[in-house]
């Protein structure tokens, strides 16, 4: 089926589930994106909130043939709580390993004489220098956390652009990057600058240690 009727709230829940999956499984070697929603339903739970049941197909942008099916549940809490939505997901099968790309990136950054600095990824024309793709994939994964923590049933965020990224030298094994990104919120159409401090290690994955709306 090449096109489908999609209700907007289900689309937003699917985008949120994808953001969580990105944070959980993404990194410099893997950028997960939503390819399709194959099933979606919503259920009102008295005194709790609204829960969406979703079946999603995700793809790894860096390796388009790498697709994976997931089921996800997204619960938006009732009322004006600051609590992030609850998201649970299950991936069918295994994602292809990215150990090789991860280690290549890790070693490359560790051996830089000067801390990495870059801006405007992608640039105005959508260009991303090949050596910046892992930096961008990492931002995508980290932004998944920010999106998850700040989403409501009425919002849908996408990472629009990395305005600025600066590597921060560390004495331990982790790589640290200070990102200033632009998030695009779909319903309000606002472009929101957001700062994120991101830690990454090939074995330990992605962690956002600090983030703030600018």
């Amino acid at each position: 089926r090449s096109g489908s009727r999609m209700e907007a709230p289900q689309g937003r829940a699917a985008a949120l589930a994808t953001a969580c999956l990105s944070y959980s499984r993404g990194g410099p070697g893997r950028a997960l994106a939503l390819r399709a929603v194959t099933a979606a339903s919503a259920q009102d739970i008295d005194n709790v909130g609204r829960k969406y049941h979703l079946k999603l197909v995700l793809e790894d942008i860096l390796d388009k043939d790498n697709i994976v099916n997931c089921t996800a549940e997204v619960l938006y809490h009732l009322g004006n709580t600051n609590a992030a939505p609850d998201v649970h997901f299950e991936i069918e099968g295994e994602l292809k390993s990215t150990d090789e790309q991860d280690n290549t990136f890790y070693n490359r950054i560790r051996s830089l004489k000067e801390e990495l600095v870059a801006q405007d990824i992608p640039d105005s024309h959508g260009n991303v220098p090949p050596e910046m793709e892992p930096i961008r994939a990492l931002a995508q994964a980290a932004a998944g956390y920010v999106v998850w923590q700040n989403s409501t049933e009425d919002t849908q965020y996408h990472l629009a652009q990395i305005k600025h990224v600066r590597q921060v030298k560390r004495s331990d094994d982790y790589l640290e990057f200070d990102y200033m990104v632009l998030l695009h919120e779909f319903v309000s159409q606002e472009i929101i600058p957001w700062q994120m401090t991101v830690l990454w290690h090939p074995q330990h994955g992605v962690k956002v240690t600090q983030n703030s709306r600018q």
Binding site: S2, E7, A33, L34, G126, A160, V187, I191
Partner: protein
């Protein structure tokens, strides 16, 4: 320098004119020398000597008029036209459709298109933007008078660069395929197409010079430091309703009143003035959707079944090109409630076939879609547009 045309009334005045030419310090240069009384004499006079020459002519009762106010200006204009025609010689065959272009480049390409397809394409100006840029519409017509018409627009939200670029490709395609593609030929043999490609030129210029993410117009908002109105919330269709903001700093600020923006008002006036527009297709990005009214209410439009079936077909034919998946439905169901939109206004003003596209992608690049997507996007959207236009042709109302 100015060029004066003097007419000697008699032989005496003729002699005076010849004498004028002999006075070296006046530096009068005859473009057409004194010959006979009653025949024009054209003299080029440097500005610094103009007063002296005019006084001389007046004192002697020689009739004259100013033929060319400023020669330099004329030379500049000619240089410009020559440069333009040198570019015209390059032709639309060498225009790079797979790149993003500036406003100036797009406007020049329009001139080329018109020059290459006389009798089919003309360029109209329907108004001016807030910053006084021309609002150009390409008219595709094979004749007739006030034929039923299809309106297309791209670039109303300036940061949606894939739309202006798709607009350029599509306009070129329409011109190219008339007389070749049976569907295009049938459509243009019976209907006119009006296509506004740079619908928000001020915003577009701003995305190129200052802020790539600019969406709105660039009008000054009284009492606020924030600039611009969302041109897709400024239409008189539940103006001010849900999904639009009363805050000038918001990306969905609806403006002080409906049609406050000249970019919007010009289209309103054009469509209402035309009186026979049968379809309005407004093209945006991103999210890969094809939608029909309403945005301002959840209640289905009276024609929703027909509009939905046509959308389903268009989306199928789009996907057949490169496998790109679109969702479709009413605006309020598919994307979000939005009041004051182009297509809702068109629909409520009798334009049954009112659609809005959201082109590629679904968020990976978003507004910053690489130029390599331009031709694939335009190519896949083309059959969807044709589906809608053909349906309009076959279902007159």
């Amino acid at each position: 320098d100015q060029v004066l045309r003097a007419v000697a009334g008699d032989e005496a005045q003729l002699a005076l004119l010849r004498a004028l030419g002999d006075q070296e310090e006046l530096q009068v240069d005859f473009w057409r020398g004194p010959t006979k009384p009653g025949h024009p004499t054209d003299l080029r006079v440097p500005f610094r000597n103009l007063q002296a020459v005019k006084s001389f002519l007046e004192a002697n009762g020689v009739a004259y008029s100013v033929m060319i106010e400023d020669v330099q200006e004329l030379l500049n204009e000619e240089k410009r036209t020559m440069a333009l025609s040198r570019r015209l010689q390059r032709s639309t065959d060498t225009f790079d459709f797979a790149s993003y272009h500036t406003i100036e480049q797009i406007y020049e390409w329009m001139e080329q298109l018109v020059a290459e397809h006389p009798g089919l394409v003309t360029r109209l100006q329907i108004g001016q933007s807030y910053e006084k840029r021309p609002l150009y519409v390409l008219k595709f017509s094979t004749g007739g008078s006030g034929r039923p018409a299809i309106w297309l627009d791209t670039g109303i939200h300036s940061r949606e660069w894939i739309t202006q670029a798709t607009g350029v490709w599509t306009a070129n395609q329409i011109a190219k395929e008339y007389g070749k593609d049976p569907a295009v030929t049938a459509i243009l043999d019976n209907m006119d197409i009006f296509f506004e490609i740079v619908t928000n030129p001020d915003g577009f210029a701003y995305t190129q010079t200052t802020n790539r993410m600019w969406r709105k117009t660039r009008s000054i908002n009284a009492g606020s430091s924030c600039v611009g109105v969302d041109p897709n919330r400024n239409w008189d269709a539940d103006f001010g309703g849900p999904g639009s903001s009363s805050n000038p700093c918001s990306e969905t600020y609806h403006g002080p009143y409906a049609h406050s923006e000249s970019e919007v008002r010009s289209i309103v006036d054009f469509i209402l003035g035309h009186g026979n527009v049968k379809a309005v297709i407004s093209i945006h990005s991103y999210s890969q959707m094809l939608m029909y009214p309403y945005g301002y209410k959840a209640e289905p439009a009276p024609d929703h079944q027909e509009l939905d079936e046509l959308a389903a077909k268009a989306v199928r034919d789009l996907a057949a090109v490169h496998g790109t998946r679109y969702t479709y439905g009413s605006i309020s169901d598919t994307i979000y409630p939005a009041a004051g939109t182009t297509v809702d206004w068109a629909y409520d003003n009798g334009v049954k076939y009112s659609y809005t596209f959201e082109l590629r992608d679904t968020g990976r690049y978003g507004f910053l879609l690489p130029a390599s997507h331009i031709v694939p996007t335009a190519t896949e959207t083309w059959p969807a547009l044709l589906d809608i236009m053909e349906h309009v042709l076959r279902h007159p109302y």
